[in-house]
Point group: D2
Chain length 284, copies 4
């Protein structure tokens, strides 16, 4: 089914739901899902509406302009219009660890992710053969302190050539520069291997072990300039015990990481995420 | 804040959200929450809308009739209008086990439950003193096979006298008759001490122990004529291990039961539950 | 590190732990892990002891006999002695669904599973190319009502030729015959896509949807003659909501299935599972 | 059943389990539970053994000395011997919030906690009547910056008079002085209303809301001089969503707090906790 999805943010006011739903109804739209949220503290209104496109009497190309004229301008809305076709294009960045990458490739192969994956980029070569077995081009771009700028330039070129919509860092162990991030605001998803804000930075499983926590976790978030501080999309946890070594924590944690990252990708693909400040509204 | 809450069920059609939100807007209603769900299989539409009453230009008494005229009739809606005042009145039925009862009384005492509790009815006497310490009248109505009809008659009288809106069975170990249930359709909440539909009937912890399950659970549901088969409102689980005895399962389970039941009461009080067939839509 | 692992079952008596630990100490064994459990109901004693083999003064081949003489006979023990080398050999049976298979192959590729996988057997061909990309032989053995006996004969031959120790049914959608099972008692691990004993048999997600449960689950168990009734090794659950379709339940459930199955395989490989009657003791 | 429980810490060496179990067996002890753990990093050995006292051929009073002579001295052990009688004596400190207090009193009333509660101490008066309805003496000791030393002196006097073994801070909103803590090392259990080490200090739910986390938690830990940094006994979490206000987080969190604290009390009472450095070994 062809769907349109509208994501809206604006100052909270009366009548927004009425006007948006009237707009959709007036052009014969069959609403599939409608969700709204008001952040009372900030007096901000958020909304997501999805409707069937086939019976809609506006052309795909006209919708944005008409909506701005008839509804958006009146409420001072920021809005984005998405369609569930063509499929979005996702690049995966990975280093040596395979668990998140394989989980994504497995889901994609099983037809669970409505996304095209035109390429995988890695600063190592060890995962090349499996990626290619899934029929996906693999680019090896080594990164050192000296070559970082150059490497990012190459990466950005590849993303542009491949018309990539968003990037997933599937345990990519390099810090992304502010310049790179600016190209994909709230469109780079990272998996951090701890329950943020506990244990920011490197080696969070070691830190968790030292602190003797009874639960570990993982956090999927949009990448922003401040390290590990971007809007959180999803978090999951798992129980650990005193007899678990650091190596156990790593393995238990990897299961949490891959499930958390895949959920975040799914929410992003379904256009269920609205980011503002360092938070997200997730209409699942 | 004074709120009105509308719960709607009807055949799925285009334009429902538009018409409902237009109605609210036209009388100056400030929508606080709006949720909708379509059961594709049954082509049924469900909706919940909550709005501020103080600025609304219809009187409390007029709303139902106007809504029926302007919206409900057009879409063949079944709807219920609720207000968050006066507080609903809840009766608690309990036998000998105290954990669910105390959990509810504790929350009520802490001001977490927007409900009045005019009475507790029990077929035993052991909990009388604590109930009364919380300032709530306690009625002891013993039940035997011989006196069951008479006991239920007394119970119903007490419920009517106390203008009770709904009943919570907080581990009340008696089967409620079909005649009694008819008086409170989808308004009797029971906690069953297993993860339904596993282990229906009596002694579910014994059955779970025998089967060697690794997870146990509890189920809060509306009571219907068929035992343990009513619409499920909430379920929770807890992990158990081989070294847990039946008595451990009972204790671990009681924590799950009390949290599950209290969540179900909260959803019911917040008018977030729509029951249909043997299922529920819960707009939390 | 080379390890020996002893799994013991016997009638409960005094002095068992003392005798077993004395035996290990007397031959200079460094105990790494020791766990015991008493089933009070059945007066059965269970124990698992793991120790370093390198400094142990008995030869690998002598241990069983000596233990029987010095300890086992005295307490009427059933015991099994395992070593963590050479690696056990595991066969995977799969049908069309890939999620459990890929999860296992991904872990194996990442070096997380101390096991050899000499072959994958399927009644379908769609997963052949990816299995082979992981360097593992793939055998296509179609099964129909008419060819079932013949197919199982072929399967058993392959298992014997490949010296397989145990079999994992990674969503293999065929019922295994009693004759087949007898060859691998408590050595065939199945993943059932529900929280057993709820929803035995086929189409459990459909049944869960119909019943309107709020939590779904998966169960890894040893296969016995009675369908879905074998000893449970591990169970996991996930929360679902009213808006989840059957297809959502399937996807959410698949994440639970793969994690549950992989945990069960890990427990089995680590020799942490003792099965008795239709239950398990898991020393994790 | 009368039980003895031995908790042991010592440098890791060969033969400890053998010697301890031989000791118990030589005096006709029936071992009920035995658990051991080796911290590889620190080369520390931890053990817990529980056995039936009635058939044991040493007198209760002799055990410690004999064990030191025959086993402890040889391995340089620190050990503690406990009995499950008479019941330990627990004091509860509370401020205004009732949820943890009621949860403990409810369990105690239901016979689930093998403990005597000789008194509740609070810096406020609002919970006096319910505490007294449970038949427990209530002491109101206000605390201000000026009276803090004096207040703690009074508290310590009451604890001594009542022969209190350990103290539970059931959301007691005052910082305990180092001098006070020295009287009850690893015998003061606090519930912190966040998933430590995230959100130390005051107002953790506000901080969690600001950060936009998707999961909140609670941490029960022994109190040490460094605030919120003592050995963690238990942690639990709950999922939250964007629509949850700070007040929702508080309510959802309170359920987590009370369950977490009660679990920690249970582990402590069952002598299942061994604390070392800022960590715990929990033999559950």
């Amino acid at each position: 089914m062809n769907k349109a999805i509208l994501l809206i943010q604006c100052p909270d006011q009366k009548g927004i739901v009425a006007e948006v739903s009237k707009f959709l109804y007036s052009y014969n739209g069959n609403i599939l899902e409608i969700d709204q949220h008001v952040d009372e503290e900030l007096s901000l209104f958020f909304m997501r509406a999805a409707w069937e496109l086939d019976s809609f009497s506006l052309k795909k190309e006209e919708i944005s302009q008409r909506f701005e004229l008839e509804v958006g301008a009146k409420f001072n809305m920021e809005f984005k219009l998405h369609f569930n076709f063509p499929k979005p294009r996702m690049a995966i960045f990975v280093s040596k660890l395979s668990h998140c990458l394989f989980d994504i490739l497995g889901r994609h192969h099983a037809g669970q992710l409505e996304v095209d994956i035109p390429l995988v980029i890695s600063n190592h070569q060890n995962l090349q053969s499996v990626v290619e077995a899934f029929g996906i081009p693999f680019y090896h771009i080594p990164v050192t302190a000296a070559t970082k700028v150059e490497a990012e330039t190459k990466q950005l070129e590849l993303l542009r050539e491949n018309e990539v919509d968003f990037v997933v860092l599937a345990r990519y162990m390099q810090i992304i520069s502010a310049d790179f991030i600016k190209n994909y605001p709230n469109r780079i998803i990272n998996i951090h291997h701890s329950f943020l804000p506990a244990f920011v930075g490197a080696k969070p499983y070691h830190a968790a072990y030292e602190r003797g926590v009874k639960i570990i976790g993982a956090t999927a978030h949009y990448v922003t300039e401040e390290l590990d501080a971007g809007p959180i999309i999803e978090q999951e946890v798992a129980r650990v015990r005193h007899h678990n070594t650091i190596s156990d924590l790593v393995q238990i944690g990897q299961d949490v990481e891959k499930v958390t990252l895949s959920k975040a990708i799914k929410y992003h693909l379904d256009r269920k995420v609205l980011a503002f400040k360092n938070k997200t509204v997730i209409f699942y």
